[in-house]
């Protein structure tokens, strides 16, 4: 029980936790959502079965698509497996590779993954995939200023832009939690995450053929193992964003303070538990609001922008 894990093992466990738990968290959300709608819903483990099924299927590429089409899902999945190295997934102390990149570095890798999926979608001749790719790029360009202002808040609060530093600051005292800048930035980030993971005010993530599709439309032409990688990637992206919100902004408790096996195991359970709670909140939001019309999404994003900008104002003027 008291044996300490070698640091590289913990580093690997961070990636493994995100990769293995991501489909499960998504399964829980789908189940809760179905229960709230009075349906029985799929099994919690359904995403794993889906992945297993897709991995055994044949992969097809549309005629005329180049190697980019097939390389992109692999590249995107690799990006999503890199980000967990940079953020506090399991430990409250920084791991050696955690200082490879700051919040901007993590954001860059996430953006790269989304870019790869978008160019793969535009490799195909499918209007749906291209429409999804162009919409996804348009709306991520709109949400970008919000993310920037959230990062400004982090930078002003901690003096650095390392995610570990903000988590430590939030843990340090109650006054750090109720300060307006922190609450505003966390709320703005939550709204961005709703938009980025394709949740209800922005996009319905269940139905397939719909004109409101953004993220969901991009992998239309992929099949077999490549489609499995894209699915897995979007689940990992969801869990990564949840982890950033939870372990950096909202609830950085339950992280392992030492490298003891018990602490790290507890941290894994705590992370999955917190992600499930957040997922239930998201499912409730999914069921209580209507999807916005495509051209009304700017209103949603402008509300998030308002929160993030007010966060910077209150900080800059000394009150936050």
């Amino acid at each position: 029980m008291s044996a300490a894990l070698p640091i590289p093992v913990i580093q690997f466990l961070q990636v493994a936790t995100i990769g293995v738990a991501a489909p499960g968290v998504s399964g829980v959300i789908a189940k809760v959502e179905a229960r709230l709608q009075g349906r029985r819903g799929p099994r919690v483990l359904q995403p794993y079965y889906d992945l297993a099924k897709l991995l055994h299927k044949e992969a097809l590429a549309p005629e005329g698509a180049s190697w980019v089409f097939l390389a992109a899902p692999v590249g995107a999945a690799a990006c999503y497996l890199t980000v967990p190295l940079l953020i506090p997934v399991l430990t409250s102390f920084g791991l050696p590779l955690g200082y490879m990149g700051d919040i901007l570095g993590g954001g860059l890798i996430l953006a790269l993954a989304s870019f790869l999926v978008a160019i793969a979608a535009s490799e195909t001749g499918s209007p749906y995939a291209q429409l999804g790719a162009s919409r996804a790029k348009t709306f991520s360009a709109i949400t970008e200023p919000v993310v920037l202002f959230v990062i400004f808040v982090v930078a002003l609060v901690t003096g650095t832009d390392l995610p570990y530093a903000l988590a430590a600051t939030v843990r340090s005292s109650a006054s750090q939690i109720v300060r307006p800048a922190h609450l505003l930035a966390a709320a703005a980030l939550f709204m961005v995450i709703l938009a980025e993971t394709g949740r209800i005010p922005v996009e319905t993530h269940t139905g397939t053929n719909e004109f409101g599709m953004i993220e969901e439309a991009r992998p239309f032409e992929h099949s077999g193992p490549y489609f499995a990688l894209l699915k897995w990637g979007s689940w990992m992206k969801q869990l990564i964003l949840y982890t950033i919100l939870l372990n950096v902004f909202v609830a950085p408790w339950g992280l392992a303070a030492t490298a003891q096996i018990g602490d790290v195991a507890l941290a894994i359970v705590a992370l999955v538990g917190k992600a499930v709670v957040l997922g239930i909140v998201v499912a409730v939001i999914d069921n209580s609001f209507a999807k916005l019309r495509l051209f009304k999404i700017t209103e949603f994003v402008s509300a998030a922008f308002l929160l993030a900008v007010l966060g910077v104002f209150t900080l800059y003027l000394g009150g936050g």
Binding site: A174, S175, V178, P180, L306, V309, L310, F313, G318
Partner: protein, 237 residues
């Protein structure tokens, strides 16, 4: 790693009171979003309630028992009476319109010139002006953090944007009433120790404003058969 550049956290009390004051400002921004007058009135009630909560917080922490009375009076007036009066007024107008029942409930005239997202951006710029201009005045307050005063000025300015952007009489009236909420917030910061009788006198001024607005809305609706002020511009020669 230089942690010296970090902005120190305010105390729990001043952080919490800033959050409540920010809630007032966010409610003001929320009024841009509301498409129904009924929702706007409800948001006004929430905003007024937040100010009462802030007054109670100040009273408890700074030991100013007068403020409890003020908070109770303000809540009774602005959370209960004014919304009821406004609702009854709008419902009456809705019923007077012949066929469409409750037209006054749904009819709201947007700006027509700017989209909602752009309006919010404009209001952010105006609010920023409020923040930075008060900061330049260098005022200190004994009872509340100065952020609350900055926010109150922003609330007043954003309420002006709301009144300018909306083209129906009823939401202009609500914009004016919420402007008064911003002034109450400023009063809490700079003059929490003001004699109770003065503060109450200000509160009853609000009642007069409501009566005047009721009259204006009725007269306008009687003449133009709608709440929109668009008809007024056509009178220009």
């Amino acid at each position: 790693m230089s942690a010296t550049a970090a902005v120190a956290a305010p105390s729990v009390y001043s952080g919490g009171s800033s959050v409540i004051a920010l809630g007032v400002l966010l409610a003001e921004f929320g009024m841009f979003r509301q498409a129904l007058l009924r929702d706007q009135v409800r948001l006004y009630a929430v905003q007024s309630g937040l100010i009462s909560v802030l007054a109670i917080l100040v009273a408890a922490v700074r030991h100013l028992p007068d403020l409890y009375v003020l908070a109770a009076l303000s809540a009774a007036l602005k959370v209960v009476i004014v919304p009821i009066v406004l609702r009854r007024l709008l419902r009456g107008i809705g019923r007077a319109g012949e066929d469409e029942p409750a037209a006054g409930w749904t009819e709201i005239a947007g700006s027509g010139s700017l989209s909602l997202a752009n309006t919010v951006l404009l209001a952010i710029a105006v609010a920023a002006f409020g923040f930075f201009s008060v900061r330049a005045l260098n005022i200190r307050s004994a009872v509340l953090p100065i952020t609350a005063l900055e926010i109150s000025v922003s609330v007043v300015l954003v309420a002006f944007v709301l009144m300018i952007m909306r083209r129906d009489v009823a939401s202009q009236a609500i914009g004016f009433l919420s402007l008064e909420n911003g002034i109450s917030l400023a009063a809490l910061v700079v003059a929490a120790g003001l004699p109770l009788i003065l503060e109450v006198a200000f509160l009853f001024d609000l009642l007069v404003a409501v009566v005047v607005f009721e009259l204006l809305i009725r007269v306008h609706h009687g003449r133009a058969e709608s709440l929109s002020t668009a008809d007024l511009t056509s009178l220009r020669g």
